[in-house]
Symmetry: C2
Subunit: 144 residues, 2 copies
């Protein structure tokens, strides 16, 4: 399959810090809670990042279940991450700006044998694009 390029265009709304991400023909509202200077009209960027990881795992479990002969009744993925605002506020040089750790728990509701479910989970964790990206990806700032 040829290489794919995904994209999003984000614009500041002009009100507070609220921003709108255009993804194809869809718009996604991104804001911050009042405690972080926003007006809480949408999830914040780091919450979308966690949802992306959980969504990637959930989607891949449902996509690869048949291959592992796992009958799926349900999939739930809990994702959480720790972030110390002293990092991005530059109050403490020893604290990184981003997440210090991201944890997730995968719960699969299935009558299938445990070893097949385990093989499915291991497969998904091995190939998850979002999880892999979080291990470190080159980011390039394009200057005009």
């Amino acid at each position: 399959m040829p290489k794919l390029t995904f994209q999003s265009d984000v614009s500041w709304s002009g009100e507070g810090v609220r921003s709108i991400a255009q993804i194809g023909d869809r718009q996604v509202v991104i804001d911050e809670p009042k405690s972080l200077g926003g007006t809480d009209q949408g999830p914040n960027p780091v919450e979308y990042l966690l949802a992306a990881l959980g969504g990637c795992i959930s989607i891949l479990v449902s996509m690869f279940a048949d291959r592992h002969k796992v009958e799926l009744k349900g999939v739930k993925v809990h994702v959480e991450g720790d972030l110390d605002p002293d990092g991005f506020m530059e109050k403490n040089p020893d604290v990184r700006p981003g997440f210090q750790e991201i944890r997730y728990r995968i719960e699969i509701d299935s009558p299938s044998p445990a070893e097949r479910i385990q093989a499915l989970i291991e497969h998904v964790e091995r190939v998850c694009p979002v999880k892999d990206t979080l291990t470190g990806v080159p980011t390039v700032s394009l200057r005009d």
Copy 2:
């Protein structure tokens, strides 16, 4: 400020691969395009990841503009990333499952002096939590 823990709970919808992320009291639909086995009812996980990066940059530009005495008329952030499906489909062991590169362009509409705008951009790029997380974060799978 104390350390914050952000979270999201994602559930498979039971239809195709479509999944729903619960973030606080909001629900976010995550799907795949038909070309990747979905029903295209929402952006896919890697698109949310790119939107999270663009949203983080846009929000921080609007948040820190005053500090750099930059009068903001508008902020646009274009984000794109390359992904080769041969990676997560395990068709080529030399291809990583996730993004190979993520590129972004920040456009600021402002009558303020260029050097202040440049200082604002450098500040945002230095402290952006999503960008920092993409440089590599420990992810921990929690087993019951």
